[in-house]
Point group: C2
Chain length 358, copies 2
């Protein structure tokens, strides 16, 4: 049975009402030119009146246009498997949206080699990607790159950490200050105001400073706000190897007897755990960051008490979905999406990453 005219929907109905062809409606819908202002106005009115919502399935099926997204993140290394989770999240998103004519390409760089970051950025620009998802691990290089993106009007989404004052499409990641603040609270929850606290920044890269400093400031802010009397000793370990950590910690423990807790501002907390284990120091409260294998190992052994995490998988998933929302759905959204700050212990870590099937 053929539908009656007044049962038409979508572009057909708009075309009928405006007395034009659906091709013209399509032109207006996508803001292409070649339509007289008069016609355009008429069609625009009808679109509003009908509160027309395009059928994305039909649109994507008919269109040959392929959107190309580039993903620029660190490769998983022997040192750390942190980036496994974001990658998995990104791939989960990729699977969900690939039917919509989206091609996702991966450009992985080496966290120990800032040139590899630059090399990949050049590849991306050459590739002609429509949108970019990146982790700005090398902040200066990243800022230079996003400047280029802006020049070329290529939207980009940041995950893991933010570049201040950059007009990204979105930042998906933690509120670092608040994360450090939470860390201090968790320490105090157990210490109840007593004992000296060691704060450790372990990083050979100056780039991390922006990242670590925000966490440290949050940490200190908590103790200040609550007028806690704990001494805080801050140590910058400018090498990410075990020996450097061992040396600094040995010195610290020799000088100061009252150390009751250690807070590590990034995922290198396992190095400290290793030290505590080897030197048989028990009853030191140890809190650090990130769900990585080496950390989980010490969490299980009760050497690390708490790991703070920022949903790395979710960051990757959401990051790519933001590009999808922007390009395919034409949605707008807040340009910051803060991740929850999660608390992992020996008792709940198992459930943290295994629910990600949808």
């Amino acid at each position: 049975m053929k539908k009656k005219n007044n049962e038409l929907t979508g572009v057909r109905e708009i075309a009928r009402r405006a007395n034009v062809s659906i091709a013209t409606v399509d032109r207006v819908l996508h803001g292409r030119d070649g339509v007289s202002p008069k016609t355009k106005a008429r069609i625009d009115d009808i679109i509003k009146e009908l509160n027309y919502q395009p059928n994305i399935l039909a649109s994507r099926l008919a269109s040959k246009k392929v959107y190309r997204f580039a993903v620029l993140i660190p490769k998983v290394s022997n040192e750390t498997d942190f980036w496994k989770a974001p990658l998995a999240g990104i791939q989960r998103a990729e699977a969900a949206i690939s039917e919509y004519g989206i091609k996702t390409s991966y450009y992985l760089f080496d966290l120990n080699d800032r040139r590899s970051f630059d090399i990949q950025t050049r590849q991306i620009l050459k590739s002609g990607a429509d949108g970019i998802l990146l982790a700005p691990s090398f902040i200066n290089e990243a800022a230079a790159f996003t400047d280029l993106c802006k020049e070329r009007h290529i939207p980009y989404v940041l995950i893991d950490s933010n570049i201040p004052n950059q007009e990204s499409l979105c930042y998906v990641g933690p509120h670092l200050f608040r994360s450090g603040y939470l860390g201090a609270h968790l320490m105090n929850f157990s210490l109840n105001g007593k004992g000296t606290i060691l704060v450790l920044n372990i990083s050979k890269e100056v780039d991390d400073h922006n990242y670590l400093i925000q966490i440290e400031e949050g940490f200190r802010a908590y103790n200040k706000y609550h007028s806690l009397q704990n001494d805080i000793i801050k140590i910058d370990v400018t090498s990410a190897g075990y020996t450097a950590v061992e040396k600094e910690l040995t010195a610290a423990f020799n000088e100061e007897e009252e150390i009751k807790a250690i807070f590590v501002t990034n995922s290198r907390v396992f190095l400290v755990a290793q030290y505590l284990e080897r030197s048989r120091k028990r009853d030191i409260l140890l809190i650090g960051y990130d769900f990585i294998e080496k950390n989980i190992e010490y969490l299980k052994k009760d050497v690390i008490d708490i790991l703070i995490c920022h949903r790395p998988g979710e960051q990757g998933y959401q990051g790519l979905m933001k590009l999808y929302q922007h390009f395919i759905l034409g949605k707008t959204f807040e340009n910051i999406s803060f991740m929850p700050i999660d608390i992992l212990t020996k008792e709940n870590y198992e459930f943290y990453n295994n629910y990600m099937s949808v």
Copy 2:
């Protein structure tokens, strides 16, 4: 330009190779009968050989079939806004999949009236829903209902709590025993083995017992496993009103001086917080469940120290998506999806629910 024959893809290519029409291919693809065994075998082989993946967009666009999902959850009440979050998650999923020809209907029942649950179940069966998402709050009624669903071959997904030994399509929710176990750990993290602990079950419904008992058992298991010497006093408050809680707590505090902490096995922890505030008892460690307004209020005021949560929004989202995966994508999956067990404090609760935009 017309494509060459050997560039054909999808059903067309299968049909060409099998020397049949695409209608026949379609029949085989969907297991409809009316195809000779010989032809079917031939087509099946080709499907495998080509590793054919149907184009869901085209499929859903062409099909007139509408899938109807029924959602059976408690309505948000004045007493608690707990069910806001699952509802929001379900609606988020609904928005994501509605284009695929899915109609979602809501059947909300009253947690104070088990008959309302029954009434809604009858409505659902009458409606002829294809799949059901439900919270089995009244466990006996729910079991009777899912028995009927099984008889009629209507798949259903459970959220929030499980019905033991039911063959649901999936359970999406917490591992309650482990959740209680974590609760005990958090207590001990602050108490360090000292002080008497009060465990409170506040519920007038016998139905909740299965739920609460699992949590309590987990809690006790932790203390036993770690040989903690804390006394545990367990109180069942069989009314969900403030006065009953006040009476029981007053009595408990009069009898026992050493109470240092209270663990409430469900979201009624705000009633205890209210009591502690009114009776000016400070320094009592208070841990309970769920991100609801009244609890957050006391979390902010430092009366409640920790809330344990099981991603209610995610449960709703994933629950509906499981039905989608089953019906539209024809995917298979584990029939249990345990939620992470999250720890909320005054410092991180703000980030817990605001990232849900995708």
